[in-house]
């Protein structure tokens, strides 16, 4: 295993060295180094700044010019988010209740932990249901001829061309008047499927079509049902695409704002973006707490994305080369 992967990476290196397409050799190293620094500054710099801002006290944070590297590290914001205990504000402890001192933790901070839970709950369910719905649909469209195959495909793909913001008003009315599930996590789950299913079906169809049809046909001749063929032939081979789909659905759900803003009104169902957006326009919330909330929202998707980089990149670029 190790030797195999080593050999492969050696081959890759060899190929990569031979590649050397555009830049002349003179000054190449210096140029690449400075470009790398620029790249890091632009791609990672802003996130670094949010992180640094979240672990400084408010007094340090508002210094001019800003501290590039924090003087004093404090975890009080994260403590406030994860171990919220409402301190009673009395005459003696009135500093706590005064936003000007920078130690003030608004009561809204207690909403972040439930919002984190809601985000995870909705995201996990969307990821699972999305793959279940999309797998069967993509298999049927990619591998079975049936009346209405083209229209079904167009119907599924065209729904993605409609902006979310256009869905807001009617979805709100549908949820309120017909299903009566406004302000529940379930309303978010079912809504997000409308966003994720078309994209997932598209990715999976591309993937399934790259698998030789004879594989499935052989299983059919041996008497497998379509569901069995899907489970025992296409699912194992298509696992990379399935993993990518799970991640995309989770990240889409984690990221979504407009629909959640309209469909939820209390912390019973509000997700992280909704609670955080509330902070931004609350002038009593300290800058460092807003940034800490931002870190809480950024870490899970970024960690997932980096961990599963291979799957995500292959999923994102499925069919890209074909055009």
């Amino acid at each position: 295993m190790t030797t195999a992967s080593q050999t492969r990476s050696n081959i890759e290196r060899h190929v990569a060295v031979r590649r050397k397409p555009l830049l002349p050799a003179v000054g190449r190293r210096a140029l690449l180094l400075s470009l790398s620094v620029l790249f890091l500054a632009y791609v990672i710099g802003p996130v670094y700044w949010v992180f640094v801002s979240s672990i400084q006290s408010e007094a340090d944070l508002v210094s001019v010019p800003p501290n590039w590297v924090p003087d004093d590290v404090t975890l009080q914001n994260f403590h406030a988010i994860f171990f919220y205990d409402a301190k009673e504000v009395t005459y003696e402890s009135r500093r706590i209740g005064d936003p000007a001192t920078g130690d003030f933790i608004p009561t809204a901070a207690q909403n972040l932990l439930p919002a984190l839970y809601n985000s995870v709950y909705v995201g996990v369910w969307v990821a699972i249901l999305n793959v279940l719905l999309s797998l069967t649909a993509a298999y049927a469209i990619a591998r079975i001829r049936f009346r209405g195959r083209r229209p079904t495909l167009y119907l599924i793909l065209v729904t993605r061309a409609i902006p979310d913001i256009a869905l807001v008003v009617p979805l709100f009315l549908v949820m309120r008047n017909f299903l009566d599930i406004v302000n529940t996590r379930e309303s978010l789950i079912i809504t997000y499927l409308a966003v994720t299913v078309p994209f997932t079906v598209f990715i999976l169809i591309n993937y399934f079509e790259s698998i030789p049809a004879d594989l499935g046909k052989a299983a059919r001749v041996d008497g497998c049902s379509h569901l069995q063929v899907l489970r025992h032939v296409y699912l194992p081979v298509g696992m990379p695409a399935v993993v990518a789909s799970l991640l995309f659905a989770f990240l889409t759900s984690w990221n979504e704002f407009v629909l959640a803003l309209m469909l939820t009104s209390t912390i019973a169902a509000q997700t992280l973006p909704i609670v955080i957006s509330g902070f931004v326009f609350d002038f009593t919330t300290s800058f460092s707490l807003v940034n800490a909330a931002g870190v809480v929202a950024i870490v899970p998707p970024v960690v997932l994305a980096i961990l599963f980089e291979r799957y995500i990149v292959s999923g994102l670029t499925a069919g890209a080369v074909k055009g």
Binding site: A16, R19, P21, L22, R29, L32, S36, V43, I44, V47, V50, V62, V64, P65, P66, L133, T136, A137, A140, I141, I144, R145, F146, G148, L155, I156, I162, P163, D164, I165, A166, L167, V168, V169, P170, L171, L173, V174, T191, L193, A194, V197, V221, H226, N255, F257, V258, P273, I276, S277, V280, V290, N291, G294, L304, A305, I306, T317, A320, G323
Partner: protein
């Protein structure tokens, strides 16, 4: 499962089996029908009524009055202009920056893999956090941008960035570009990797310069990648709402008043759901027409 007997290999590539197929497709179609197709129909239906939640008991049917009113509303045309500028800047900015990044990451050097992986950080950052992050960087009193430019001696005193109506739409577009550039760069990079090395070697033998090789080999080969980037980024950018909601709320004045923001204002501030629906439908239609044109263009060129 419906009774379906596998047919012997026919002249068709795929076997014909309507019963099973409908059974397999049904769940996805039902869910999409409920949360995508039906709402769109409902939206169109509502757009024909003067539906105002502030006045729920009188809902006159007005035919296409909402649309007519819209096209005579100067605010709508301002929104169209802002949306166009924003979309153009975002898409072109994303494509150019992504091209640069892809060319850079296509070079062979130590650490290239790590840098490519880090591209996923902006991609995975939620747009709300992206908005508050750049709002904080642009902050007029404590922001990083002011601190950086002052330290470098580029500005002499702190500037009010987002508060400047001439700059605000470009600054929001910049935040969008930061998040969208990685996907575009990855797409272009994959396309670049599929260019055979022989082409470059042959061109080199023939004495082509770096620029000539870029112009005559790399750029034409990137065409499909670019088309994909343009289609996708346009569809995404034209409907952006999150950044505007977090960073400027349509302001200052109407400097960042886009169509998405107008839908929000009409529906949820003025409670004119009929008008909001009409506006939503115009945006949906514009998006559909644009994607149709792009796809036509795409399939003709390739």
């Amino acid at each position: 499962m419906t009774s379906s007997i596998a047919r012997p290999a026919s002249r068709f590539r795929l076997s014909y089996d309507s019963g099973s197929a409908i059974f397999l497709v049904a769940p996805a179609v039902l869910v999409l029908g409920l949360v995508a197709v039906y709402p769109i129909g409902y939206s169109f239906y509502n757009s024909l009524f003067d539906l105002n939640l502030a006045r729920p008991h009188r809902v006159p049917f007005v035919w296409f009055d909402n649309y007519a009113k819209l096209f005579h509303d100067p605010q709508f045309w301002i929104a169209v202009r802002r949306t166009t500028v924003y979309t153009l800047v975002t898409v072109i900015g994303t494509a150019l920056l992504a091209l640069g990044v892809a060319l850079f990451l296509n070079e062979a050097f130590r650490g290239r893999r790590i840098l490519a992986a880090l591209l996923l950080v902006p991609w995975a950052t939620p747009s709300i956090v992206n908005g508050l992050m750049w709002k904080w960087i642009y902050d007029p009193t404590y922001g990083l941008l002011n601190g950086l430019l002052l330290t470098l001696g580029i500005i002499e005193k702190y500037q009010v960035w987002l508060g400047d109506p001439n700059l605000t739409i470009f600054l929001i577009a910049q935040a969008a570009i930061w998040k969208q550039m990685p996907l575009a760069a990855i797409l272009l990079l994959v396309t670049m990797k599929s260019i055979p090395d022989d082409l470059y070697r042959a061109a080199k033998v023939d004495g082509a310069t770096v620029l000539q090789r870029f112009w005559h080999i790399t750029l034409p080969a990137l065409k499909p990648g670019f088309m994909l980037v343009f289609v996708y980024e346009t569809m995404i950018s034209i409907r952006h709402f999150d950044l505007f909601a977090i960073m400027t709320q349509g302001g200052p004045g109407d400097a960042s008043f886009t169509i998405s923001w107008q839908i929000y204002i009409e529906s949820f501030r003025s409670l004119k759901f009929g008008m909001g629906s009409a506006l939503s439908f115009v945006l949906a239609l514009a998006t559909l027409i644009l994607s149709y044109l792009f796809i036509r263009l795409l399939s003709r060129k390739l």
